[in-house]
Structure formats: C-alpha cells, structure tokens
C-alpha cells in the first residue's frame, strides 16, 4: 500500500545550490513526513534518475544514511515510477522489506546533450536532436489514423492547464486559450510549444508499506511491445478498469495521452476528447507534465504522487495511473499502469 507521497518544488531555473540529490532528498523527506515515518524506518529503496549518474541507489542510500535489506535502480524513464511501485509492493508482500522509499527525479542542465547521449541508439542512429521531432512524426501518424487536427490536441493542453490552476507547484497555471495554443511557436511540425512539456528540475517520491491510505489493485508493465517496428500508436497496455474517479496518464505529448486512454479502455479519441474538454473525464488533474513540467524520470512518478494524494485526501476513491517512456529509437519502449483505490 502507498503510505505517503511527496513532490519537491519543480524549478524551471533551480536556485543555486540545488542538485539532483537535494531534489531527491526533498521529495523523499516529504513522502516520509506524509507517511508519518522517519529515515530509520526505511529498509528498502528504489531510485530512478538519469542525472544522478554515475551515482545510483547505493550511493544515494549512503548519503541518506539508510540501512537497507532491499534496493533497486530503475532506468525506465516515464515507466520507472510504476515499475518501482510494483517491485516495492512485491517486496513488502514477500516480507523482504517493511518500508520501501521509491524516489525519482532529475536536474538536467543541457537537454540537447541529455537526448544525444540518452543511449547508444540515439548516439549512433537517431539523425535529429531531441525527442520532440520523434513525437512530431508519431503525432502525424496519430492525426492520420484518427482524422484529428491541431485543435483536437489543443483540448488536452487547455483542459490540463485549467487543472493546473489548482496545483501551486505547476510551472504554468494561467488559463490557456485555443487562440494562444494555435498561435504558439512551432517546435516540430505539427507540435507547438504547448504540446511539449517544459523541462523542470524536480523529484517525486512515494512510500510503500504494509499499512497505508492507498491500495494498489492492479499493475502492468510492458517493454518492447512493438520492437520499434510499429506505428507507436499503441503502448501494449490493456484495460485495468475504467470506472475510476481520476486518470493520470503520461503526457509527454497530447497524442500519447489519447494513445494511453485508448489502450486502457477509456475509448477512442472521438469518445474521450469531449469528456476531457467538459471535465467529465478527469485526466491529469495536477496539470500534468504539459503544465506542471517534466522533471526527467520524475515525470513517471508525478501522476502517481498526485493520484495518491487525491485518494488519501478523499478527493477520489479510485484512480488509474499510467507511465510511458524510453524513446530509444522512434518512440517509447516501456509502459506501465496501476489501478489505485483509497483504503
């Protein structure tokens, strides 16, 4: 069960002295405080961070002074949060650990360099800078497959921005209009600025233990569902339940929001877009990464933290969370989903 959740401040421009370690420690402390637990209670640690390298979970454990009997590193990007949640749940169920701290976060100074050196495939075989052009190509396929236009994707950016007004930690909280969306600078045709999450520095954390306020009802993980040879318009995820109060899907780009919602059984773009626009389907109620910002690997835990808080606070009874990431060549190679319920 999830006993606590926390998020560090998300910074577009981190104050001096901020490091990826201070961000991870900040989120971890908030999640422990939320759970009413202290560092001495932690005996399991899971860590996801690109910019923590060359350090990993062991070095972080030492710097946090944790004594552990269970540990893991996750390098699944946007799927890391739910990957770690699933492994932590199993560790606790098996009795390998009593309290597992799961933390994800990044501070990426030079995003172009990060993307270029993401892996050997990017270094040697991706002939363009960054991830945006890859998802521009995917979005073109999605538009063609579903007969969508730019103002359809705008509905997602606009709805999430409206939710962001309620999230003091979001990078952008002012309402977004259709006119502003359509007039925004193009990043890579057809993606505009508001289709791409702003890069921020930050971290998210959850605490998993036998006791808690949120129960994990179902979990799924998929890797290499299409071997990078398909159209990227499916993640391999399948429905875990659709009768939920809120949905957090990984929103690196609006097309991927619609892809995950379809995979998870919420319906085709034509079904879900009107429900997102009128608020009857509550999707990414933190504002999502499109408004709150994308803090590297924390992006895969951001939706989980906000859903867990909503369930713990009684704002929702059930939630579906999904993660997606690791665009190793043409599109994401990893995805994960979890069905959550207030305990």
């Amino acid at each position: 069960m999830i006993a606590g959740a926390g998020e560090s401040p998300y910074h577009r421009h981190p104050p001096s002295g901020t490091t990826v370690e201070t961000l991870l420690a900040d989120a971890a402390r908030r999640a422990l405080d939320d759970a009413g637990l202290a560092p001495r209670d932690v005996d399991g640690l899971a860590v996801a961070s690109f910019s923590l390298a060359p350090d990993g979970a062991v070095e972080l454990a030492w710097k946090l002074g944790l004594r552990l009997r269970w540990i893991m590193d996750s390098r699944l990007g946007g799927a890391s949060g739910l990957h770690m949640l699933g492994e932590a749940e199993r560790a606790v169920a098996a009795g390998d650990a009593a309290v597992v701290l799961c933390v994800a976060g990044d501070l990426i100074d030079d995003f172009d360099a990060f993307a270029r050196d993401f892996d050997t495939l990017h270094r040697e075989h991706v002939p363009v800078r960054g991830f945006n052009p890859l998802f521009a190509l995917l979005t073109q396929r999605h538009m063609r497959a579903h007969g969508l236009a730019r103002d359809d994707y705008a509905q997602i950016a606009i709805a999430q921005r409206a939710w962001a007004a309620e999230n003091p930690n979001a990078a952008y909280r002012e309402p977004l209009t259709l006119e502003e969306y359509l007039a925004a600078p193009v990043v890579a045709e057809p993606l505009c600025r508001y289709d791409c999450p702003p890069v921020v520095a930050g971290a998210d954390a959850v605490v998993v233990s036998r006791e808690g306020r949120v129960r994990v009802r179902g979990l799924q993980l998929r890797v290499n569902a299409d071997q990078q040879e398909g159209d990227g318009l499916a993640t391999g995820l399948t429905p875990l339940g659709t009768d939920v109060d809120l949905v957090s899907v990984y929103d690196d780009y609006p097309a991927m929001v619609l892809v995950q919602l379809a995979d998870l059984g919420f319906g085709s773009p034509a079904d879900v877009l009107p429900r997102i626009a009128d608020g009857t389907l509550s999707v990414n109620t933190s504002g999502g990464q499109l408004s709150a910002g994308q803090a590297g690997a924390a992006g895969g835990m951001h939706g989980l933290v906000h859903a867990a808080r909503a369930l713990a606070d009684g704002r929702a009874r059930t939630a579906l969370v999904s993660g997606y990431g690791m665009a190793i060549y043409r599109h994401g190679a990893a995805s994960a989903a979890a069905l959550l319920e207030a305990a």
Partner: protein
C-alpha cells in the same frame, strides 16, 4: 543504406541488434537497401529535418531528408 539481414528468417533489421526480434537467431549478414517511401516528415524550429522512411522490404527507420510524405527516396 546498410542494414542487417537475419540469417535465420531473412527479415531486415535496423538499427543493428544482437538477436532477431522475429526468430531469435543471432546470425546476421549485411544487406543494402537502396530506396524507401517517406511515411511522415517534420522540420524543427532550428531547421532540422527528419522523416520516417519505410524501407523496401524492411522496417520503418529515421532518415534526415527534405523529402515529403509519399515520396520515394534514395538512401
């Protein structure tokens, strides 16, 4: 364009891999693909161009090209 052909099932693969995703074999021979069809293409705000090109008899790959969707390109 130099790609890899699986010695087991004959399917083309790119980028290079260790094991064939279709038949699981680990023996490859080099293969030359001369043309493909542009499926989707984009240009970034910095002027960088990239396209998804479906190789003749092979998988979709990323290619830096000015060609437009539907056009056949030499690789």
């Amino acid at each position: 364009m130099r790609v890899a052909r699986c010695s087991g099932c004959g399917r083309l693969s790119f980028p290079p891999r260790l094991w064939c995703p279709h038949c699981g074999r680990d023996a490859w021979e080099p293969a030359e693909v001369r043309e493909g069809v542009v499926e989707t293409a984009t240009v970034t705000r910095d002027g960088d161009r990239v396209a998804t090109v479906v190789l003749d008899g092979g998988p979709p790959v990323l290619v830096a090209t000015d060609a437009r969707p539907g056009e056949r390109v030499e690789l």
